[in-house]
């Protein structure tokens, strides 16, 4: 292998192993910042050694043993670690003596818990949301600081600072490195789910031709979501989130037109939806539904997405079920946007008058006053009722509110059509 090829191979090993490595070390040293430093030291050692010796048979075990040796060196110099030292030495000695399969068997059970512990630590509620996102991508995704900066279109120094501060906050707050148990797990899960969903949406919002790292965030979020569902299989919302992400990602190819303009869900060419991801999403949703209790907010959104995914043509959409699901969502996670979507679904399911009636109940909502979709949906429903003049006025109002040029053209076009139909 050439030097460059070896470096790429090391990078690949790093991508696969770094999260487990940091997680295992964090359990030992109880500090994710220190664990990351130790893991980085091991990487540096690998970069020095492997181009000459070749990549070892079990690179993960090599990296872990090297990092633990560093930890022991460090412990020897730090009296506070004195008591830990003996334990560490024994641990490492034992692991080094084992062959590959025994090593794998010994760590297999712990690895899952360690990873889950790392996920919960990175997404700890003491951290602000953007710090949680950066730390998760860094420690679980193995992304470098410049990559995270590019992905979120912010300066590298901003991310670097965010990461340093996050690790300090965790240390100062004495956040224990552990998987929260029972009720606490359920209470802390939303902050993990939120981070993964945010990473996905950031990637999904990227347009074609942008830096590859932005759309790659979608794949990273899918990967994290799948890991979470595999490690916390009893949590319905973990399956609900990954179901939602798989189904949303299945439409990736169909959601943009040839000129890069967004194509609305009901107008998409369903032949371009990714059947593999739809199947994965539907199965994840089934797992969420099979667990105890009613669906949570992610599970319900996944169930709504699944209604669209199951319809081979837009006309086959089960709007009655979608309306019912929005109704359930409005009860556990009420928001004006959910109400707006509910009105759309009710309009399709039970006729435009019913939709309009529902819309009137939220029209006064202050957060929707400047929101262009409210008049746009109203215009839609009015047009269906043949009230062309009123519809045109709503579309014009929506056009004035949107900041998207293409959308404005679209809305003005609809306004023209609506008033023409009246005549």
């Amino acid at each position: 292998m050439s030097g460059a090829a070896t470096n790429r191979a090391i990078e690949a090993v790093w991508r696969i192993e770094s999260a487990r490595l940091v997680a295992g070390l964090a359990r030992m040293v109880r500090d994710v910042g220190l664990a990351e430093d130790l893991a980085q030291d091991a990487l540096v050692a690998a970069l020095e050694r492997w181009p000459r010796s070749g990549v070892p048979d079990n690179p993960g075990a090599w990296l872990m043993a090297t990092a633990k040796n560093r930890a022991i060196d460090l412990a020897r110099r730090q009296t506070t670690f004195e008591r830990k030292q003996e334990e560490l030495a024994r641990d490492v000695g034992m692991r080094m003596a084992m062959d590959r399969s025994e090593f794998d068997a010994a760590v297999d059970d712990e690895v899952g818990d360690d990873l889950l512990g790392l996920i919960f630590t990175c997404c700890h509620p003491v951290l602000p949301r953007e710090a949680r996102v950066a730390l998760t991508l860094r420690l679980l995704g193995g992304l470098s600081t410049p990559e995270i900066a590019r992905a979120f279109l912010v300066k590298e120094s901003t991310i670097a600072q965010r990461l340093v501060r996050a690790k300090r906050t965790l240390r100062d707050a004495n956040v224990p490195f552990e998987v929260p148990g029972g009720e606490e797990l359920a209470a802390r899960l939303p902050s993990v789910l939120e981070v993964i969903y945010l990473v996905f949406n950031e990637g999904y919002a990227a347009s074609a031709g942008e830096d590859w790292i932005r759309p790659a965030l979608c794949e990273e979020a899918l990967r994290l979501g799948r890991i979470l569902a595999a490690l916390a299989p009893d949590e319905p919302e973990a399956h609900g989130l990954i179901a939602l992400l798989e189904i949303q990602a299945s439409r990736g190819r169909a959601r943009l037109g040839p000129g890069g303009e967004p194509v609305l869900l009901l107008e998409q060419n369903r032949g371009r939806w990714d059947l593999l991801l739809i199947g994965r999403g539907l199965r994840a949703l089934e797992r969420a539904e099979a667990l105890r209790g009613p669906l949570g907010p992610y599970g319900l959104q996944a169930a709504i997405a699944a209604c669209h995914a199951r319809a081979r043509e837009a006309e086959e959409t089960d709007w009655v079920r979608i309306a019912a699901l929005y109704d359930a969502l409005a009860q556990i996670a009420p928001s004006p946007i959910v109400e707006l979507n509910r009105a759309v679904a009710v309009g399709f399911a039970f006729g435009p008058e019913s939709g309009l009636e529902l819309l009137d109940t939220i029209a006064a909502e202050p957060t929707l006053r400047e929101y262009h979709l409210l008049p746009s949906v109203r215009g839609d429903l009015l047009a269906k009722l043949g009230r062309g003049e009123e519809a045109a006025a709503e579309f014009e109002r929506a056009a004035a509110l949107t900041e998207n040029e293409r959308e404005r053209e679209l809305l003005l076009g609809r306004a023209a059509t609506a008033s023409a139909e009246r005549a």
Partner: protein
């Protein structure tokens, strides 16, 4: 990106059914792929002798040949479809497969963006 990993077992059809021990080892590997969030799908295939081949001549006329087949050098025994961040990462995963006397071929799956503009438009028009 997505990669297809094809397993070429290099065994005769008589030995096609793996032992419980081999299956257990392979299941562990599959589980590792799944827990790493990499696995999209996987399947094992019945031996080629139970299948059929449909070949087309240069005029596009098809001929069906049922198994078993005389020459059987490289036959696919199964596949994994994984999501990886680079070819090197896919190759690293392939090399962790608990295989003996077999070959795992790693192939990147075409994405729409890999095609030229006119091909992309042909797909969009379909």
């Amino acid at each position: 990106m997505r990669f297809m990993m094809f397993m070429y077992p290099e065994i005769s059809e008589e030995e096609w059914n793996p032992s419980a021990e081999d299956v257990a080892e392979m299941s562990r590997y599959n589980e590792e792929l799944r827990k790493a969030g990499m696995l999209l799908s996987l399947d094992g295939l019945h031996p080629p002798g139970e299948g059929a081949r449909v070949s087309f001549d240069s005029e596009g006329t098809s001929t069906v040949t049922d198994g078993p087949f005389a020459e059987a050098k490289e036959v696919v025994g199964g596949y994994w479809l994984i999501q990886a961040r680079s070819k090197e990462e896919a190759v690293e995963w392939a090399s962790r497969c608990p295989g003996k006397g077999c070959t795992v071929e790693v192939r990147r799956v075409f994405e729409l963006e890999d095609f030229s503009q006119d091909v992309q438009e042909a797909v969009a028009g379909a």
